[in-house]
Symmetry: C2
Subunit: 283 residues, 2 copies
Amino acid sequence: MQILTEPRAMQQLCQSLRCQGADLGFVPTMGALHAGHLALCHRAREENPQFVASIFVNPTQFGASEDLSRYPRSLETDLELLREAGCDAVFTPDARAMYGDTDLLHGTWVDVAPFNEMWEGVTRPGHLRGVATVVAKLFNLISPSRAYFGEKDFQQLHVVQALTRDLNFPIEIVGVETVREPDGLALSSRNAYLNEQQRRAASAIYRAMRAGVEAARGGETDVAALGRTMNAVLEAEPLIQPQYVAVVDAENLTALQQLDGRAARILISAHLGKTRLIDNMAL
Amino acid sequence: MQILTEPRAMQQLCQSLRCQGADLGFVPTMGALHAGHLALCHRAREENPQFVASIFVNPTQFGASEDLSRYPRSLETDLELLREAGCDAVFTPDARAMYGDTDLLHGTWVDVAPFNEMWEGVTRPGHLRGVATVVAKLFNLISPSRAYFGEKDFQQLHVVQALTRDLNFPIEIVGVETVREPDGLALSSRNAYLNEQQRRAASAIYRAMRAGVEAARGGETDVAALGRTMNAVLEAEPLIQPQYVAVVDAENLTALQQLDGRAARILISAHLGKTRLIDNMAL
């Protein structure tokens, strides 16, 4: 497995891989790899003769008051996991290699405007723009045939799909199902921030979504009623502070008032102490 | 010369050209070709074994009150000129092929933020964002080795250089010197809007810039004084209404107060009746 830190070197390697005519899979990560990332890798491995990954904690997608400095980093373990997953090359640039001397005085942004006005766009101003920009940069450096993103970050997956289509990147975006702990908690690098009590409480997010799904299966179509059902589960857990509990159109993420046969998705964001978790589930 | 209207077909053609290992030149245009465009084509022809052009009057770079509907269109003549210039393939999509059914309700923008606050960014809100977005799309569709832009649109050239660098497009941006009429007027498709009197008056833009250059050569370093010199030439021509007459740092386009040895550039925008012209010159 090759390990590259220089954008130009990665670009040249990937161009030569692509021009051999074979498909190239790509798994972008911020490191701190868990079984969710490995599911992306296994899928990339299955579907492409070559696959590469990136490990880059992208500063432009963190707000000033967010957890950039304490975001978990475990490069050696990550590399070992990627090697075991059959990864052909890993791109591990530093912020300067990606953004130049100007660091965050970065001039060019990719902005998927409609998503800024909803959910993570409102809760984390600038976050989605940072994601979209770094994804466009990585796409240009790696030129994959297919890129793999977890459904756990559902709005991010939509942002990536939109920018890929709108900017004509010749890349297939593959969404991969969320991997969960036995009690239903979605795997996330940020779960490492939780103490033991918070970790136990966190499964209420999953239980709330399951309660919403069950209520809908039982015939409830009123979204306000579904919201009350889910909030009741969360409120039973005093360590959780819900931020949004939404039922949205799974295509464009706009809030629904009523289930009407369109594909719908539950989106939840909640704090446990200082840790913010998000999750989602098909309804 | 191949003529393609479908983005996917153009993308596949260009991918196969690139993967043959040969460089690919690209000349993006909005049609209404003149000798300025042909200078780009000749340069592309000299420097690349293959070169392609696009003709697309990009709606997202026109403001609501601007000249999208009356922008000059001359497809048959343009194709003939490109054929004579040795162009290998021309991409002539319609707006729907480029932006989908949603037309201008386009979700993703490429925005080179610092340039929005100056000159064309202020005068034509949204214009540079429309340019940056369509250029990113065309770059992804065509994947050229080199792309050719006229210096006549000096700020546009800077926007394209910035987005190419910032988004890691593996493309060399080549700026090509402005082609001028015998009286100095820069060639522009919009010159076709001028009536005979306006056409004669328009050369004052060139004469004003030359007066600025001469004053600087004579030792004048105070930008306010240079501005007065240039404005005096423009004011002698009653058909011209200057919009901005600026002396800027040629690297970042910020206004200078004093010439201090840094590369400087004169930027002028002016109206002749309803027609708006821009021009620039090294100082």
